[in-house]
């Protein structure tokens, strides 16, 4: 299917990538697309690299995204953006949260965290970066980083603002709705 849109969400276990993919899934069903969302549960969630695939279009078969295929990669962390780079298709867009989280091999000194990842990414592919933690803090909770990032990504899609807003409303717990709607707007208007 040439017209299937492929979005990859990558991050570190615990950053809330699952909720982000669920908001995205909600929004694309509302648009009447066929959709598949592939998630990661279990051991890899414990602070490891996590990857979620969201694919939508007329008819979607495989739930996974291969190298060179993603239209958009939404990365919650710099190193994970760098790791996911080969999955971006030619002409695709990389949206990255300007946050560094050291993986255990870096913490123990067994490996080095690459320098200037953002510059290297920008040299290779179309890259949008944001300090989502700052915007999330502004919105009222550092936990809303995921929704800030979804807001930023929303602008790179053809899905209208109102559809996104409805998806956020129907996905996040009511208690945190206000904060999350603020977070979405801060990302969207960034």
């Amino acid at each position: 299917m040439a017209d299937t849109k492929k979005i990859m969400i990558v991050g570190v276990g615990g950053q809330g990538t699952l909720l982000a993919s669920r908001i995205l899934g909600h929004a694309v069903i509302d648009m009447g697309y066929d959709v598949k969302v592939s998630e990661v549960h279990g051991m890899s969630q414990r602070g490891g690299s996590v990857v979620t695939y969201v694919k939508f279009g007329e008819k979607v078969h495989s739930p996974i995204i291969d190298r060179g295929e993603a239209d958009i990669i939404l990365a919650f962390e710099l190193l994970e953006a760098y790791r996911a780079l080969p999955y971006l298709k030619e002409g695709g867009r990389l949206i990255v949260n300007d946050q560094r989280i050291n993986p255990m091999p870096v913490i123990t000194g067994a490996a080095e965290y690459p320098e200037n990842i953002l510059d290297k990414l920008s040299e290779k592919v179309a890259t949008t970066s944001v300090d989502a933690l700052k915007l999330a803090t502004e919105a009222g909770s550092i936990k809303s980083v995921n929704v800030v990032l979804i807001g930023l990504m929303a602008k790179s899609t053809d899905i209208p603002y109102d559809v996104w807003k409805k998806a956020v409303t129907e996905t996040v717990p009511p208690k945190f709705l206000e904060v999350n709607l603020r977070a979405f707007d801060l990302g969207y208007n960034h």
């Binding site: 414990r46 291969d66 060179g68 780079l85 490996a111 690459p114």
Partner: protein
């Protein structure tokens, strides 16, 4: 109405619509959410529970089915090993109310200790197996499984894989069918499997497989898609979706919805209509070998790997010879990001002490398996649920008493209830002197917080009786039982030293709740003060919140720290202090 459902949620929905009234399971990734979703349906309609292990769960479901209700038990692939004993014999007994066993394989081992292929169980136990490819299949096939079960008087397997269980796709939701509990009638020829009766039942099992093979020939779940090609692809489950994306309408498909027993004639006819036929299946050449045994010429594992997950790109390359799309890569080595124990994890204290004492650690299945990775790096073995205790028993017997003084077993509360108790009774009975540490974090952690017999709550969150681990160990004959907080490093170290020195079996219950439980809240966050002498002792904890920059300065990341304070106790210079809270930082 169409809904976006996780494969596991769709299995639960299918079972609900099929009128299931009893579900008993033990959690295991990637199968866990099936039973969790079942628990969202009204208790008046579906009874559901977490059982202490898969064998108990399957036996309870078998009993419920004999009792006339539609019943289900769900597990991961290795869980099927545990439930295999009752399942093989249930094949002979058959059902009264329908019985379905859902088993989720984990190709690629996202969260498992091996990559076994559950389809072999279908053939070995002579039980039909359905294999859905997406969430819509999950719902429909699960409903069909219950009907088949009652129609052919057999339990039925539904086989899932990680990508089916944990992918969401669109599903048409239906109404719950009315299947009231059937009357129970005593029938020892069918339900008492001793040799005289089992011989009679075996005849029926073989006849049933033939009848199911006939059914498979015309079953709509075994679907041919004729695209007028001379290339044929025989496939099932998620591999069908990959093949379909890779090959589109360039080939003809035979999508098997039932992977055991196979429709021999229909497969032979399909193959005869093509010049070349491929079998595309992850893991073992199960369909392929069956085809070859039937004399059908196919190609499979000559081209495709036995290892891990497939992708559409891999299939396109092998069948069509097309190259993967162009992609950009980093020009340097990217450090791995393996999973780690969470900040505030109670197991961190345990492994810090075990590593410090240089002990051999017989490990088990759970979050605490992560105690094997650097810098804690203290776990020596991980085999299967419960093996920490029994394997240490064997190790101690061959290595002798001195070795045993440097050997401990670590096992979680849920894993201990699952299959640790029997191993411990082996040690007591056979005069072992092992030290067993039960990591009691008040929940089943790894699979995402499920209740178990030690937590005092049911799957629906109701209060219930709670297994008393101390009384249980005492009843097994253990005289030396201590309860210790693994974050009280000094006391915990002392307890481990004392118990390993002892020439008798002992149990230490390391008690502290999982840091991810909502009830666990620590005041303030940890901060490095200017007292820090950069000795990096705190780095030995392997806490993801603590790191050292290029200048050798130690930092604690406020977004990761949960304020557990374990590092404060480790620092010999009192250089780590509690400071503000996350909320302060928010508005800071």
């Amino acid at each position: 109405m169409k809904q976006l459902l996780l494969g596991n949620a769709a299995v639960a929905r299918g079972a609900y619509e099929a009128g299931v009234c009893f579900v008993s399971s033990y959690p295991g990734t990637p199968s866990t959410e099936i039973t969790e979703y079942i628990a969202t349906y009204p208790a008046e309609e579906v009874y559901c529970e977490w059982a202490p292990n898969e064998k108990v769960a399957a036996e309870a479901a078998i009993g419920a089915a004999i009792g006339g209700g539609r019943a289900m038990s769900c597990c991961k692939h290795v869980g099927l090993n545990v439930m295999a004993d009752p399942v093989f014999t249930d094949s002979y007994i058959g059902v009264n109310g329908g019985a379905v066993f859902c088993v989720a394989d984990d190709p690629g081992m996202h969260s498992s200790q091996n990559e076994q292929d559950s389809r072999h169980y279908a053939r070995a136990a002579k039980i039909p197996m359905l294999e859905p490819a997406d969430s819509a299949d999950c719902l429909n096939f699960t409903k069909l499984a219950f009907d088949l079960s009652e129609k052919f008087d057999t339990p039925v397997f539904v086989r899932l894989s990680t990508r089916v269980s944990h992918s969401q796709s669109l599903v048409e939701i239906g109404e719950r069918e009315n299947h009231p509990v059937k009357p129970y009638e005593k029938n020892i020829a069918k339900n008492v499997m001793m040799p005289a009766m089992a011989k009679g039942r075996h005849v029926i099992v073989e006849e049933r497989t033939l009848a199911l093979s006939d059914w498979a020939e015309t079953a709509t779940v075994n679907k041919i898609e004729d695209n007028g090609s001379k290339i044929g692809v025989i496939t099932a489950g998620i591999a069908y979706e990959y093949a379909k994306e890779a090959l589109g309408d360039k080939v003809n498909y035979f999508k098997l919805g039932m992977v055991w027993p196979l429709p021999a004639k229909k497969l032979a006819d399909f193959a005869a209509s093509c010049d070349k036929v491929y079998v595309i299946e992850e893991l073992d050449p199960f369909i392929e070998n069956e085809c070859k045994a039937l004399g059908i010429k196919v190609e499979g594992k000559e081209l495709f790997t036995l290892l891990g997950e497939y992708t559409p790109t891999m299939i396109a390359k092998k069948i069509l010879g097309t190259d993967a799309p162009a992609s950009v890569a980093a020009e340097e080595v990217i450090p791995n990001r393996p999973p780690v124990l969470c900040p505030g994890c109670p197991h961190r204290g345990t492994f810090y002490v075990l590593k410090k004492l240089g002990l051999t650690v017989s490990g088990d299945i759970g979050c605490y398996t992560l105690g094997a990775v650097a810098p804690l790096a203290s776990v020596d073995t991980t085999i299967c649920m419960g093996a920490s205790i029994s394997a240490a028993h064997g190790m101690a017997k061959v290595q002798g008493a001195e070795f045993n003084k440097k050997l401990v077993s670590v096992i979680g509360d849920s894993t201990f209830m699952h299959s640790g108790i029997t191993g411990l009774s082996d040690i007591v009975y056979n005069k072992g002197a092992n030290t067993v540490i039960i990591l009691d974090n008040s929940i089943t952690g790894m699979t995402g917080h499920q209740e178990n017999p030690t937590t005092g709550r049911t799957i629906r969150g109701e209060a219930t009786r709670q297994v008393d681990l101390i009384a249980l160990c005492r009843a097994l004959g253990i005289e030396h039982i201590s309860v210790c907080d693994p974050f009280d490093l000094k006391a915990f170290e002392k307890a481990v030293k004392e118990e390993t020195e002892r020439d008798d079996v002992s149990v230490i219950i390391a008690q502290r709740p999982c840091a991810l439980l909502k009830s666990v809240k620590y005041d303030g966050l940890c901060e490095i003060t200017d007292q820090c002498r950069k000795c990096k002792l705190c780095m030995k904890l392997g806490c993801p919140a603590i790191s050292v920059d290029n200048a050798g300065t130690v930092h604690i990341d406020a977004t990761q720290c949960n304020g557990c304070g374990l590092c404060i106790g480790v620092c010999p210079f009192g250089a780590i202090k509690k400071a503000g809270t996350k909320e302060d930082k928010n508005h800071g």
